[in-house]
């Protein structure tokens, strides 16, 4: 059972590392990377629990199905989050530019 334990602990450490990075770093891409690492950690714990060495009984397929579901969900969420991060940057840059323009000619600005 050393294998299960080893991989479970790895998953846990990955989760913790992702959590720490998610909170302290400000760059959006790094935050998304951190979430991905976290989710990988969770999946690893789940699959490690189902592991049985060859010849020592059946492998539980339910966690595998759950992880498969989870991976696909995490990819789609990652894609959406990345797009949103890009939009945040694009719109906020343009917004700042617009605001500076308005500051430059305050008389004409009308909310």
């Amino acid at each position: 059972m050393i294998t299960t334990l080893l991989y479970s602990m790895t998953g846990l450490i990955l989760f913790a590392m992702g959590l720490f990075t998610l909170i302290i770093h400000s760059h959006p891409l790094r935050k998304i990377l951190a979430v991905n690492v976290m989710s990988t950690g969770v999946f690893l714990i789940l699959v490690a629990a189902a592991y049985k060495p060859l010849g020592l009984g059946k492998i539980d397929p339910v966690p595998h199905a759950m992880v498969l579901t989870g991976i696909v969900v995490s990819v789609s969420v990652t894609a959406l989050a990345l797009l949103l991060a890009c939009r945040v940057q694009e719109t906020s840059n343009l917004d700042l530019l617009e605001r500076r323009k308005q500051e430059a000619r305050p008389k004409e600005s009308n909310q």
Partner: protein, 252 residues
């Protein structure tokens, strides 16, 4: 922009030293990990599971691979909702921005074109094979769909001119094809057996294959659309041509 710039430079030149908040956080995270780790350590050696229950019902599921049986038969409802999650991601992405294509036509790199010509048909074949073998070995709709999606990404990276002109409506049909087939089969089963997704035992294998094929196509398109990063060019309200309001995401 100054503040943005500052934030960026600050994150660039981040020193290795941590400030007080980060230290406390680090301590907390380490404590949490240790606690959870010790709990995992003390857990029973052979965790209980559903392996036997699944094995018992395997022969009634219509497929030989246990993972596919769980995914599309025993817990098919989960998978139905999950296919909807994928579709939702595309709807969300389309609502955010327009797909990015370079303005001027670019002559495709011959090497790239060669790679695409060689690889894309091969990937289609592999995807079809993965969907087919999903009933008895590793593979299935998600893996096949992922390969299809990768093929789509390859074509998008090459910036094939034909991709620019893909009309929105057929693309939308392709995106909802898998979910529609899934829901259709589920309701069909409801009529036949009185249970949502309660396949009749003798046709279960074929129905699952049908769902998998449809979902693989939709998942492939979904992933490629997500990579394209926005809605297609002509996704614009029909009767408002005179109001040439710029679409969001349009950039000079």
């Amino acid at each position: 922009m100054r503040t943005e710039e500052k934030i960026i430079t600050r994150s660039r030149n981040r020193h290795k030293r941590l400030d007080a908040f980060q230290r406390i956080l680090l301590l907390l995270v380490i404590c949490l990990t240790t606690l959870l780790g010790s709990i995992i350590w003390t857990m029973p050696e052979n965790p209980p599971g559903l392996a036997d229950a699944v094995a018992l019902m395997q022969e009634h599921s219509g497929v030989k691979s246990p993972v596919t049986a769980v995914l599309l038969n025993f817990r098919g409802y989960d998978t139905l909702l999950e296919v909807m999650v994928l579709l939702l991601a595309v709807i969300g992405a389309w609502s955010l921005a327009k797909a990015h294509f370079p303005q001027q036509e670019r002559e495709a790199n011959p090497v790239q074109m060669g790679v695409v010509r060689l690889l894309v048909p091969l990937m289609f074949l592999v995807a079809a094979y993965l969907v087919w073998q999903g009933s008895h070995l590793a593979g299935g709709a998600f893996q096949g769909g992922a390969i299809l999606g990768a093929a789509g990404v390859l074509m998008l990276v090459t910036e094939l001119p034909c991709l620019r002109a893909i009309p929105a409506h057929p693309l939308r049909i392709g995106l909802v094809l898998g979910p529609l087939i899934f829901v259709g089969v589920a309701l069909f089963c409801l009529f036949l057996t009185g249970d949502l997704l309660g396949y009749p035992e003798e046709t279960a294998g074929w129905l699952i294959l049908l769902i998998e094929a449809g979902c693989a196509i939709s998942i492939g398109l979904t992933l490629a659309s997500l990579f394209a990063g926005g809605h297609p060019e002509d996704e614009r309200p029909k009767n408002q041509e005179q109001a040439k309001g710029p679409c969001k995401g349009e950039r000079p």
